[in-house]
């Protein structure tokens, strides 16, 4: 081949000689060297400033768990982003008014400087903080904190933190992780849900093997996945999501008997009301990835469900601020960060912006 012989002559490649009508090899090498130096400088300067930005400004745990406070993970840039903060649980009148002005949320009087967590929940003098360590392979921890937000126990985990819950008494803890490998399986994912009894120290690393009764029959399948556990006041009964064969179910579980049974289909991330009579949950109302969920409340006595006033798709395990009000995170304006919204649990009213730049709401009662 005429063409290739000319360009590919051994040891005399085109790059070695003078390009056709272009600058000499020396000039091109020099230009590339200069460009490399400039680009390397940009990269290094940016990285160093990013590393400096990440250094913690104040020591963690500047405050403890106090009653009447709403704790959350702050996602607001420059305002303790990535760390736990808190505001008074009952919003002051002017604060609530300012909060409803969605376009320009007024600065809330948040106290920042709590521990750094991906997910956070607290109740009854115990806090659960899911934390991540970057690197190869990425690692994560479940950190158990006491009433003054001091570390009591740390459990190494794999995957991406997803849900965290503490029982009302502070005794039972549960968390859910996405398995990291599942970035390969594009539209499905698998989860690992753990349960920790802080009184006995007993840890169930993966609750997948709990004997499950589905629609009245003992059920075995390798693809069962649990997530979003919520505990009842007795620290024994719990509710969770189980998914298998592409369907999701609400399960009711019993820790002492170590058994679970499904109650209802198409129900994810249950959250039990403080009086233990109702479950808030997300229900899939649309197939696909576009706005698939709506927030519902299920009355456990009548087993009737009703949607709440929130029309948007909520992908969160809702938290009860009290027996009447739900709090949940939604993506922020323009998709940046997330905000915490509240809505009445009985289906009345309208959603209200509670904390701009926050996620993982939890009220300590």
């Amino acid at each position: 081949m005429v063409v290739t012989d000319r360009a590919g002559a051994p040891a005399e490649g085109t790059a070695r000689g003078r390009g056709p009508g272009g600058p000499s090899l020396r000039a091109r090498v020099l230009a590339i060297a200069v460009a490399t130096a400039v680009l390397a400088t940009v990269a290094v300067v940016y990285t160093v400033s990013a590393a400096r930005r990440a250094e913690p400004a104040d020591p963690p745990s500047a405050f403890g768990l106090d009653r009447g406070q709403l704790y959350f993970r702050s996602t607001r840039e420059g305002d303790g982003a990535g760390r736990v903060a808190r505001v008074a649980a009952a919003p002051s009148a002017d604060g609530a008014a300012a909060m409803n002005a969605e376009a320009d949320p007024a600065p809330d009087r948040r106290t920042t400087g709590g521990p750094a967590c991906e997910r956070f929940y607290a109740a009854g003098g115990t806090a659960l903080c899911l934390r991540r360590r970057p690197g190869i392979p990425p690692a994560a921890y479940a950190v158990v904190l006491d009433g003054r937000l001091r570390e009591k126990r740390r459990i190494a985990l794999t995957g991406i933190p997803n849900r965290a819950r503490v029982s009302a008494s502070g005794r039972m803890l549960s968390w859910t992780m996405f398995a990291t490998g599942d970035s390969y399986a594009t539209t499905s994912f698998s989860t690992r849900t753990s349960i920790l009894d802080t009184r006995t120290g007993y840890l169930i690393k993966n609750m997948e093997d709990i004997p499950l009764t589905l629609d009245g029959r003992r059920y075995h399948s390798p693809d069962v996945n649990y997530w979003g556990v919520t505990f009842a006041r007795d620290d024994n009964r719990f509710y969770a999501t189980v998914s298998t064969k592409g369907r999701t179910y609400l399960v009711e579980g019993d820790l002492r008997r170590w058994a679970a049974r499904t109650l209802r289909e198409n129900l994810e991330c249950p959250s039990l009301s403080p009086d233990n009579t109702r479950l808030a949950f997300k229900k899939r109302v649309r197939e696909g990835a576009r706005d698939p969920w709506r927030l519902y409340v299920l009355d456990l006595r009548t087993m009737r469900e009703h949607p709440v006033a929130e029309q948007r798709s909520v992908d969160d395990q809702a938290a009860w601020l009290d027996d009447r009000t739900l709090a949940y995170a939604l993506p922020g304006n323009g998709g940046k960060g997330s905000d915490i919204w509240t809505v009445p649990a009985d289906g009345s009213g309208a959603p209200a912006l509670r904390v701009a730049g926050g996620s993982s709401p939890a009220v300590v009662r």
Binding site: G13, A50, A179, A185
Partner: protein, 419 residues
């Protein structure tokens, strides 16, 4: 880079003589640098989406899958544009530049889903556009009997970049405590350097000679894109590649099966592709040279036989270490013996002026048939479970291998009309 491991001393001394053409080394360097840039981002994107932006894995999967279909069409257009007037360098450079700029898009998008979607689309389009012109440039810059080695060198450099990228990204995340923006900025700088290297050191159309610049009347676009199919030898290669592609279950499934059987901690999962890539890196050049010596259809078929052996290992071997090393090694052999080798096989069957279009057609056909195979295997897994699905995969691949052996032309390398 030298064929020291085969033990064929005589052959080795003959094969190691001479070097790879300058443009191939230049393109290899561009690919190495670009792959560092793109794999940096690829490695952190799932984490970025799910953790930093709070997208659900479902949404991420949706965004990710959305653009994979688009690239097939874009690739054909890229190949066609490169062949019109022999503008391989310009078209490939545009693709590289688009991908580099998409990092700035990710940076500027902040958390906006629309902006991220646009940036991802730009990256995929850039990748689709550049691949065929680049492979055409490699094949146009090398003598036909050294194509295997040229592609081997290029793929080895490419894979080296792909190995370095995730390491660089995770090192950056570690050093900056999860500053994803720093990953995007560094990735942009590295990507831009790749574009500059291409501009400075890869020859333009003047160096490719008149044969690469088509003359004569203009033909309608659709006719031009499918024109290479009129050649019987190329048609057979295309059919064989598509047939084998349709019998390939996809790496993610192989890794998932491996993880299931060995039951190691899921956190090591991201390291599995690195094992495969390392073998690919080591064997790409020897496999290419072997193809130059004994014909490219043999390594291409042997590569698929290695994949078949990997499936059989997954079915039969219980021993952990043997299974892990065997499967990763065999999948690495599969890539080393097929990826660049297929381009070396097809190159001589295509006229210089239609080379980019032909390669685009071939790559698109292979990609689409693999997509089909992955979907089919996924369905079989769901219906029958992993074991029976794997047995089916073994049978289908063995049949496809026999079919491809019958289809592949024995001599494409020395066709007098092109050389």
């Amino acid at each position: 880079m030298y064929l020291a491991t085969t033990g064929a001393a005589a052959a080795t001394s003959q094969l190691t003589r001479g070097r790879v053409a300058g443009p191939v080394l230049a393109l290899g360097t561009v690919s190495l640098v670009t792959d560092i840039s793109s794999e940096m981002v690829t490695a952190v994107l799932p984490l970025y989406f799910v953790l930093q932006l709070g997208l659900s894995p479902l949404q991420f999967g949706f965004l990710d899958g959305l653009y994979n279909g688009v690239t097939a069409l874009v690739r054909l257009l890229g190949g066609h544009a490169a062949d019109r007037g022999g503008r391989h360098k310009l078209v490939a450079g545009t693709g590289y530049a688009l991908s580099a700029l998409s990092r700035l898009g990710l940076l500027l998008a902040g958390g906006g889903t629309a902006g991220i979607g646009a940036a991802l689309a730009a990256d995929r389009i850039g990748k689709g556009v550049r691949t065929a012109p680049r492979d055409a440039l490699i094949s146009l810059s090398s003598p036909p009997d050294e194509l295997g080695r040229a592609f081997g060198v290029h793929r080895a450099m490419d894979t080296a970049g792909a190995l370095l990228g995730p390491l660089a990204a995770f090192a950056l995340l570690w050093a900056t405590a999860d500053a994803y923006d720093a990953v995007f900025v560094v990735s942009f700088c590295v990507g831009l350097l790749g574009v500059l290297l291409l501009v400075a050191f890869v020859p333009g159309r003047g160096a490719l000679g008149p044969a690469a610049v088509p003359a004569g009347p203009r033909v309608p676009l659709r006719a031009r894109i499918t024109e290479p199919l009129r050649d019987a030898a190329f048609r057979r290669i295309m059919l064989a590649a598509a047939l084998l592609g349709a019998a390939t279950i996809g790496d993610s499934f192989v890794y998932l099966l491996l993880q299931r059987q060995l039951d190691f901690a899921v956190r090591w999962f991201p390291l599995l592709p690195l094992g495969t890539a390392a073998v690919y890196l080591l064997l790409a050049v020897p496999a290419g040279r072997l193809g130059d010596r004994i014909g490219r259809r043999v390594p291409f078929l042997l590569g698929h036989a290695a994949l078949l052996a990997a499936y059989v290992l997954l079915l039969t071997v219980g021993d952990g270490i043997v299974l892990l090393a065997g499967v990763l090694g065999l999948v690495g052999v599969f890539y080393a013996a097929t990826d660049g080798v297929l381009m070396a096989l097809a190159g001589p069957a295509l006229p210089a002026a239609r080379r980019a279009s032909g390669m685009a057609l071939l790559q698109t056909g292979q990609a689409l048939s693999r997509l089909l195979a992955a979907a089919g295997f996924g369905a079989a897994w769901t219906l029958w479970g992993s074991g029976p699905a794997l047995v089916a995969a073994v049978i289908v691949l063995a049949a496809a291998l026999a079919g491809a052996a019958a289809l592949l032309p024995r001599t494409t390398e020395r066709r007098s009309s092109w050389s």
